[in-house]
């Protein structure tokens, strides 16, 4: 366990180095959030009855999304990992007395967390200062806080586990381009990054909700805003656990099969 801890620390500190990038990231995210809120406000004014959630819940959703972009954006690929498989550097990693899957999993967590730590708090703080329906509204009970945090953790692990499947698939395909593109574009829409999932028509939403991508950012952000409560919330949490387990199993199986007959590329 200790080795994973120190591995995590190395990557985490490494990620904290990029402060200027974080600063401009904060500015970008903040403006992105404002534009998104204004956009939905126009739709809200067009027809408040067609709005599937309260405006407050939507604003919270948007701000959390902007603040934790680094945690849940699926296409935050680490090109180094792809390259290491393609050019053969992965051989060095295989020499280490740690299982590849675990090592890269910890690494993925650390990279995303370090990015999010630098960026999330200023964005959340600014959003909290904004006037009521447009800003971040904090839930008033511990119950919501608890389940939000739980769902955030599950969603985070899910995203990292999904990334691992994509990395592992490169052992089989060598070129990462196709998988990357497909995974990025499909997950983006189905995960609720383009528009929040409640805005989809009912029939489509029922199907999308069963897919793994709906178990990522969609769940915690909606719990936080009070849009996802009661029985539906417990169902979503169970779905999260289910998909996390499935992704972990698939990823580890792919790793084992790949490493049995791995061909190191390059010299």
């Amino acid at each position: 366990m200790k080795k994973y801890g120190s591995f995590f620390r190395i990557r985490f500190i490494n990620g904290l180095q990029y402060r200027m990038a974080a600063l401009s990231g904060i500015a970008t995210q903040f403006i992105w959030g404002i534009m998104e809120v204004l956009l939905f406000r126009a739709f809200y004014q067009a027809s408040p009855d067609s709005f599937p959630m309260t405006f407050q819940a939507l604003s919270s959703y948007i701000w959390l999304q902007q603040a934790f972009l680094a945690l849940y954006l699926i296409w935050f690929w680490e090109s180094q990992l792809f390259d290491s498989i393609t050019n053969g550097d992965v051989a060095y990693e295989l020499c280490r007395p740690i299982r590849l899957y675990n090592m890269w999993f910890v690494r993925g967590m650390a990279v995303r967390l370090s990015k999010a730590t630098l960026r999330s708090f200023p964005v959340l703080f600014f959003a909290w200062l904004l006037p009521s329906p447009y800003g971040l509204t904090l839930p008033d009970n511990w119950y919501t806080w608890f389940f939000t945090l739980l769902a955030m953790t599950l969603a985070f692990l899910l995203v990292v586990a999904f990334g691992m499947i994509v990395y592992m698939s490169v052992f089989y395909t060598i070129s990462s381009q196709g998988v990357k593109l497909l995974a990025s574009s499909v997950s983006e829409f189905l995960g609720g990054a383009v528009i929040p999932l409640p805005f989809l028509p009912d029939k489509i939403r029922e199907v999308v909700n069963l897919l793994p991508f709906a178990s990522a950012q969609n769940v915690p952000f909606r719990i936080f805003g009070g849009d996802l409560v009661g029985k539906e919330m417990y169902q979503s949490l169970l779905m999260q656990c289910f998909w996390l387990t499935v992704f972990l199993l698939i990823g580890r199986a792919m790793e084992q099969r790949a490493l049995k007959r791995v061909v190191i590329q390059g010299g």
Binding site: P52, L181, I195, L200
Partner: protein
Amino acid sequence: MNSFGLYKKYCLIHLKCVMQHKVSFFLTTFGLFLMSFNIFLGVYFMMIRFHQVNGFSYQEVLLCFAITLMSFTIAEAFFRSLDTFDSIIRSGEFDRILLRPRNCLFTVICSKIDFTRIGRLLQTILMFVYGILFSTIHWTLFRIIVIVLMILSGIIVFVSIYLIFASICFFTLEGLEFMNIFTDGAREYGKYPIGIYGKTIVTICTYIVPFSLFQYYPFLYLTGKTENAWYGLLPIAGCFFLIPAILFWRFGLSRYQSSGS
């Protein structure tokens, strides 16, 4: 050889170059298509839920989206080198360019032409045709001229922004990520007529970066929301944005001290 002939030669070379890796080219093209198709799906689902936004119908929004995205895509495909200018400076490539017997801006622009944007261009053309066929716009010769002006002016505005980015790189040697707000942000949020974001944003997008001059005001005239025909000519005013951009480039160039690599 004149500049135009030279540019054509460069185009051919870049085309041959990407055709060396056909699979990669088509995958990237397809991926870009999928990415912007996502944005289209977002617009589509929002519009079937709400039917109209700020008085704009689905077809009108689509037409507006197509105009913005088309200008952006064309500008990005042909002026991509300005967007990645920081790497040209840092690699010392720019010092080599300065030695060539042609205008350095021209040479920089020639150094990269991104044909993979065709995927997105195809999508914008589809949306554009759909928007024109199914919207209730009353077409006159003047309106056709206005729509062409909008696209041309859009390209020029985006190119000016790229040029300003590139000029900033003379001082910082590094691309500033937050500058993406003006390009990617404009592409992302230009999918709806700017007016829906409220007065403040329209003001910013008129006087600071002239997005509304080619996207919002002429569009109001096009869809018959205003009778003021002068709105249709505002895209021409948007083109003047290129002047400060070029002046800034010259200023940056005169202060350029190699990156030392």
